[in-house]
């Protein structure tokens, strides 16, 4: 079962999985981070309350988050084709991964930022800080450790989603597990891919927690 061809396959699988996970996480943060900030800032008790905008975004995030990922991938096929030019392979999977992960990340960011003590925001306001100053100099730096923990959660969640993308031809370790383990009954291969996924998750999670601890000056 572990002939050189298979080993090469697994190597490519790891590469594709990392590519999908990291690129999707990055792009999902590009959308999710500002979205999360906007959610906090426009909240009823935020520094610039905009209730209508807040409600609209809230509903959109909830809708996207409540669609099961498998269904979302299928629904997004035309959209994926338009953006990535194809509907199979890692590049195509990135599109649905970003759409699924961005609202999730927005929620993570929102809850991290909401942990910042209101008193500190008030103190900044009393010094004449503008809302932009507060976002860049108070909310984000003060929430940094929590944001890092959130990113570890996000990256591991996206990793497991990327494995699911294997079902519709997404590539990566997930695709190998499904094609060999499920369709061809090669349980050994499936176990190896699962073990590899476990190791990757461990590495991401551990790195995230260590970074968060390193940056946290509260203790």
């Amino acid at each position: 079962m572990f002939e050189p061809v298979m080993m090469k396959f697994l190597g490519i699988g790891i590469g594709e999985t990392l590519y999908m996970t990291l690129l999707s996480t990055f792009l999902a943060y590009v959308i999710g981070l500002p979205l999360g900030i906007v959610m906090v800032v426009t909240d009823k008790s935020g520094i610039r309350p905009r209730l209508l905008l807040n409600k609209v975004l809230d509903v959109i995030i909830n809708i996207l988050r409540s669609v099961p990922f498998l269904i979302l991938m299928i629904v997004l096929i035309p959209f994926t084709r338009a953006i990535a030019g194809t509907t199979i392979g890692p590049k195509a999977a990135v599109v649905s991964l970003v759409v699924a992960a961005a609202p999730f990340i927005a929620r993570l960011v929102e809850s991290s930022i909401k942990e910042v003590d209101y008193g500190v925001i008030e103190a900044a306001q009393s010094m004449g800080a503008s809302p932009l100053d507060i976002v860049y100099k108070v909310l984000l730096p003060e929430a940094k450790p929590s944001l890092i923990v959130g990113s570890a959660i996000a990256v591991t969640t996206i990793l497991s989603y990327s494995a699911m993308a294997g079902i519709i031809g997404g590539g990566g370790l997930g695709a190998i597990a499904i094609n060999y383990g499920y369709y061809r009954y090669e349980v050994g291969i499936m176990l190896v891919t699962v073990a590899l996924l476990v190791v990757i998750v461990q590495i991401f999670q551990e790195t995230g927690m260590r970074l968060a601890k390193k940056f946290d000056k509260r203790f």
Binding site: D117, G119, A123, M127, G128, D133, F219
Partner: protein, 338 residues
């Protein structure tokens, strides 16, 4: 203080909060003038509206009626941007210090200077100078989590002073500190007032803080100002029920004594060093019972009062009152105990 220049004026200030269960009035008809260079106290029980009041002064809370006039400008007429500029000339410190936890003491002090857009090297110099003023130069690179409460408040004071404000607002600044730390923070505030000439507004629920550092005080009770005056005036002759409540901490106990003949002897400086009461007892040959006593040292003068129970006859009372008045003490009959 010779020439009293008003720096902050509140006229008919009101604040109503709208909640689900209707509206709550937090402040009503507040008229207040604060003079340049003084330490002004605002005292009230919790829930009296004093925290809302201090937040109205720098417009962290927008009053729903009335005006705040700071340095000749009506704050309600300023744009957001102008308001932010004004806030830079009003420093504020808090009960919970509100330091940025992810920044060192030094970086915390630089924070308002960054916001004000000060050049880096100038900001650094200013922050070092401030660390010196608050006596924390050795804690420059320490994060707030490693500082004691008193040290945190010192950093907060340095931070509040960074932009050279004209006014420092202190919102229960010593309420989370132990008594000896409170003393040292109050001493620092007093020192800053004297050295830098900054007007200071102190919000507190503790009479001792007012006595320690304030020149004038407003008592706020049930959303309104109950009385305003110099600390001496209010301390020796509180006119309002709220005022008396702060000076008779044992109010509930003295109530039982209503009906007996009691007098209140007020010491307003100097003559508290003389054994006046002992002499009076010897002179008038009357036994008196001290029901309540509270004598303190304010600005190196003694202030305080005693409530004495005296024999229930007009002539003895006349003798006692005459003797005490001869000693320049104010004597009043306590008819209705607070």
């Amino acid at each position: 203080m010779e020439k009293k220049q008003t720096i902050i004026e509140l006229t008919q200030l009101g604040k109503v909060f709208h909640t689900k269960d209707g509206s709550v009035s937090a402040l009503e008809n507040i008229d207040l003038q604060i003079y340049e260079g003084e330490i002004f106290g605002i005292i009230g029980m919790s829930g009296a509206g004093k925290s809302t009041l201090v937040r109205c002064i720098n417009f962290l809370e927008k009053p729903t009626s009335g005006e705040v006039i700071f340095d000749g400008q009506k704050l309600s007429q300023l744009t957001e941007k102008e308001l932010r500029a004004v806030r830079r000339s009003m420093g504020m410190i808090f009960q919970q210090f509100n330091l940025l936890m992810q920044r060192t003491a030094f970086q915390n002090i630089c924070f308002p200077l960054e916001i004000a857009g000060m050049e880096k090297s100038a900001a650094k110099e200013r922050a070092e100078e401030l660390l010196e003023i608050v006596g924390l130069s050795d804690k420059r690179n320490v994060y707030p989590s490693q500082l004691s409460g008193g040290q945190k408040q010192r950093v907060a004071i340095a931070r509040a002073l960074a932009t050279k404000p004209k006014v420092l607002l202190c919102d229960e600044a010593t309420s989370a500190l132990d008594p000896s730390t409170t003393q040292s923070i109050l001493a620092l505030i007093k020192d800053i007032n004297r050295r830098l000439g900054i007007t200071i507004i102190v919000i507190t629920h503790e009479m001792s803080v007012i006595e320690e550092i304030c020149q004038r005080v407003a008592i706020i009770d049930d959303s309104k100002i109950a009385e305003i005056g110099t600390v001496e005036e209010i301390f020796t002759r509180p006119k309002s029920a709220a005022g008396r409540k702060f000076f008779f901490p044992g109010g509930a106990k003295t109530r039982e004594l209503t009906g007996d003949r009691c007098i209140r002897v007020v010491f307003d400086g100097g003559n508290a060093y003389e054994p006046v009461i002992a002499n009076m007892i010897l002179e008038c040959k009357v036994p008196v019972n001290i029901l309540f006593g509270d004598i303190k040292n304010i600005d190196d003068k003694s202030f305080g009062h005693l409530v004495l129970q005296i024999p229930d006859d007009e002539r003895t009372k006349g003798r006692i009152v005459a003797y005490l008045q001869e000693k320049n003490l104010t004597v009043e009959e306590v008819i209705e105990n607070v």
